[in-house]
């Protein structure tokens, strides 16, 4: 009687070493420009090469501009980092979807999009939001650069098996409430450290009702409760999503794969180390008010008492305050959490025929070149333009204050990204995390609004 997690993990144990650690085989490695250069340098220093260059895909996402990507990067350090990735990939013969490539995009958007991410795999990347890929029923988690080097050298990692946690969300979501609200709600209940030491399986009909893209949003933010990763058992929606994609198994291989994937579920009698259950009907559109993702409230409630006065001071907010009606200056729709085509469609549907408020800067950053192309094909770009939203080119953008896209000090940004840490979107920036719909409605109103009241 095993959990989904145990089934996949146990199949990847190469050997056990003293102290209880296990050597785990990694099926797929994604890399990007920020956390890979020191790993490549490490290989060179040891005079070794990649064990399996066929299991690595590279892209440039964190440190790229989202305007004029056809021009050379103007910031010298960013330019050097991106060109170092290109040079390393050339030298080590790694497939790289660099800036300008038609398959470039945020690493956690392109992996699933190309059909590389599949059920039953172990997947790592030097980025904590690697948990995103768990939506396909695989074990996917973020690693540090030393581990990036370990995987490059040996295709393995030395790990302690994490504990298992199941989070079940039962019932139906209210209209205007999305998967982003589900995960912000869970984190607000369990805190930013509530999942530490655990690997989470999300279950329940409110989860299985979600599309694959919406499932990715939930798994993406597992790390924001401290968990190593999150996963969802694969089902018909998973097969339908993968089938026909570039790296999907073809012909007989597809049937073989499907037969195996259908064994990937948690057995009825399996026991988790920790269990939590929530009701979907309790979930409202969510907002964060503090400086970690656990500091979240339902939009129609007030900021609670907190011991973390430092966070409220930073945010310029107070206990008892409602965020409805709060004037903000920026709306950012993007990041590995919410930059997929469904997110863009949802926003376009809402803003069609409307106009953003004059004082708002509203930016939409697609997760990949493919998402961008799809949005243009569907005419979403025209809708955004007419509504006063700026559609940029793909990248991590204003999620992390690393590239040119930043929020000025002291100003508020309703953001569909994943972290509201101090300075995350730029020094002094004040981030309020929310769903794409809440972000879109806020851009139109100019102040934070409860999107449920804006839907016809």
């Amino acid at each position: 009687m095993n959990t989904l997690f145990d089934k996949i993990w146990d199949q990847h144990v190469v050997t056990e070493i003293k102290g209880g650690r296990q050597v785990i085989y990694i099926d797929q490695h994604y890399i990007h420009e920020v956390t890979s250069p020191q790993a490549f340098a490490g290989l060179e220093k040891r005079d070794i090469t990649l064990r399996r260059k066929d299991k690595i895909i590279a892209t440039a996402d964190h440190n790229v501009p989202t305007k004029n990507q056809h021009l050379p990067i103007s910031e010298p350090l960013s330019k050097k980092q991106v060109s170092t990735l290109m040079r390393n990939c050339e030298k080590f013969d790694v497939t790289c979807y660099g800036l300008g490539h038609e398959k470039q995009g945020i690493v956690h958007v392109i992996g699933p999009e190309l059909g590389i991410t599949k059920p039953g795999m172990t997947i790592v990347c030097g980025d904590s939001h690697t948990s995103t890929h768990g939506a396909f029923g695989c074990i996917a988690f973020g690693i540090g650069t030393s581990q990036v080097e370990q995987v490059m050298a040996s295709q393995c990692l030395i790990l302690n098996k994490p504990k298992t946690m199941r989070i079940t969300v039962n019932g139906k979501l209210q209209r205007g409430v999305s998967s982003k609200d589900i995960v912000l709600y869970i984190i607000s209940k369990l805190t930013a450290a509530g999942g530490t030491g655990h690997f989470i399986e999300f279950a329940g009909d409110a989860i299985t009702d979600l599309s694959m893209e919406a499932r990715m949003t939930v798994c993406n933010m597992s790390i924001e409760m401290g968990a190593r990763g999150g996963m969802i058992a694969p089902d018909q929606k998973t097969w339908d999503y993968i089938k026909g994609r570039e790296h999907a198994p073809k012909a007989d291989k597809w049937n073989e794969a499907l037969a195996y994937w259908k064994t990937l579920y948690t057995d009825a009698e399996a026991v988790f180390d920790t269990e939590h259950t929530f009701e979907a009907s309790d979930i409202s559109p969510m907002l964060t008010y503090g400086t970690n993702p656990g500091m979240g409230i339902k939009i129609d409630t007030h900021i609670p008492e907190t011991e973390n006065q430092k966070a409220l001071d930073y945010m310029g907010l107070s206990t008892g305050e409602s965020l409805i009606g709060k004037k903000v200056e920026h709306v950012f729709i993007g990041s590995c959490t919410n930059s997929r085509i469904e997110d863009l469609r949802l926003v376009a549907e809402f803003v069609k025929g409307k106009q953003k408020a004059d004082h708002i800067s509203a930016m939409i950053v697609p997760g990949s070149k493919a998402v961008e192309a799809q949005a243009i094909e569907e005419g979403l770009d025209k809708i955004f333009e007419a509504a006063g939203f700026e559609l940029r080119e793909p990248g991590c953008s204003a999620c992390l204050g690393m590239n040119e896209d930043k929020v000025p000090a002291g100003e508020y940004c309703v953001s569909t990204s994943n972290r509201n840490f101090e300075g995350r979107q730029g020094p002094g920036a004040r981030t309020i995390l929310a769903s794409p719909l809440t972000a879109a409605a806020t851009a139109v109103a100019g102040v934070i609004v409860d999107v449920r009241k804006e839907l016809n």
């Binding site: 973020g142 540090g144 030395i158």
Partner: protein, 196 residues
Amino acid sequence: MDPLVRINSTAVPLPIEDIDTDQIIPARFLKAITRDGFGENLFRDWRYGKSDQPKADFVLNSDIYSGQILVAGRNFGCGSSREHAAWALHDYGFRIVISSFFADIFKGNALNNGLLPITVTDAQLDYIFQEIEKNPEHVFDVDVEAQTLTVTKDLEVKFEIDEYKKECLLKGYDDIDYLLSIDEEISRFEEKQVIY
């Protein structure tokens, strides 16, 4: 990796909870392609003001506290997986971080870089903060072999560290050395693995 065997040092107190890796090293300083020099920007936005002047009230700018040990509030190192956070702490001169709770990825990154995270109870953490406040010159003793953190004659904490990582720290080995040594075993695993 430098071996870490024993540290006798004063400590720097940072009694803030949920210190995330964006505070330890903000993303805009992650553009380097080497592991060196990150200490300069450790806690950058808490340490320096807008025009890069040191903020007098931040502990790293104080003349009172110094040492190879950082003592921080609960849930230290949450957020991004950036190993640059561990590099920055190490580069600045820290070899030990004491807290009552560490985020998983940070903990792993720290151990892979000869920076030892020591988990104590909340009560012990409060006591350690009090001792530093009473006497900033107070010297703590960390013995990796014995797995002990000696705070005072009244408090010796026996901390947890798994056997494998302890050996790596004591000898300065890293995981790659081990993984390369089991190359044949990995090949045997690859031969029997079915991939879709």
